[in-house]
């Protein structure tokens, strides 16, 4: 069974600085998807960025980028130029390409942004 681990329960960053959130996963599959979701205090889960395992190029979305290391089974999220609105719980998630659509989530990392 696949598992996702986020080893940082809490992280803090100064506004305008850069922060990296860590995620590792375990799977025996070679083809899958990885996601980072953001969950603000209002509880609505929002997709931040996604990565397809067969793509070597790291995904980027404006200030958000990932460092995908397939061999190490690592998928970290880098937030550049942090803004107050980035404060939220961030979840790393795995989805198999071949075994249905369910997302397997990590435990989450709560990010606070200091003005």
């Amino acid at each position: 069974a696949q598992t996702v681990t986020q080893s940082q329960p809490e992280m803090s960053v100064q506004e305008a600085e850069t922060v990296t959130l860590s995620c590792t996963y375990d799977t025996s599959e070679s083809d899958y998807y990885l996601f980072w979701y953001k969950q603000p205090p209002s509880r609505q889960m929002i997709l931040v960025i996604r990565q397809e395992a067969y793509k070597q190029q790291n995904a980027t979305e404006n200030r958000f980028s990932v460092n995908f290391q397939k061999a190490a089974k690592s998928f970290s999220l880098k937030i550049s130029d942090s803004q107050l609105g980035d404060a939220a719980m961030y979840f790393c998630a795995y989805r198999s390409r071949n075994q249905g659509g369910k997302l397997i989530f990590g435990q989450g990392t709560e990010l606070s942004v200091k003005p």
């Binding site: 996702v4 998807y33 979701y37 209002s42 509880r43 609505q44 889960m45 929002i46 997709l47 996604r50 397809e52 979840f91 998630a93 989805r95 249905g100 659509g101 369910k102 997302l103 989530f105 990590g106 435990q107 989450g108």
Partner: protein
């Protein structure tokens, strides 16, 4: 485009009572998911529908939880009887079948407190 709608937003019940949650997915999304998110944890899939058929209910406690999606659109999730450990946020998500990566879009969730 309207997002995933859920109601009620909050519910407080006593143990052994029954409760029902409602979800309306994004128009045209054939796949619907119910996740349970216990405080401090990542969401866990309870059940996945494609149209009105069940794709995955392996983690649904079937002795007390039930879900239906009769016309392939709206869905209801029921708990009867509720236990203290059912206190959680229940998230509904939907996705478009066939879309690349089948990104899941989440509703605001229903926060359940069982006393």
């Amino acid at each position: 485009e309207a997002g995933v709608a859920q109601s009620p937003r909050y519910k407080i019940i006593e143990k052994r009572q029954s409760v029902a949650f409602w979800c309306n997915p994004i128009s045209g999304h054939a796949t619907l998911y119910w996740y349970q998110q216990i405080l401090g944890q990542g969401p866990k899939l309870l059940i996945q529908f494609q149209n009105n058929g069940v794709v995955d209910d392996s983690q649904l406690p079937k002795d007390r939880f039930s879900a239906e999606r009769l016309k392939g659109v709206d869905s209801t999730l029921k708990i009867q009887p509720a236990k203290l450990e059912d206190s959680a946020v229940y998230l509904c998500a939907s996705s478009l079948v066939g879309a690349r990566q089948e990104t899941q879009y989440f509703g605001p969730g229903t926060r359940l407190l069982v006393l």
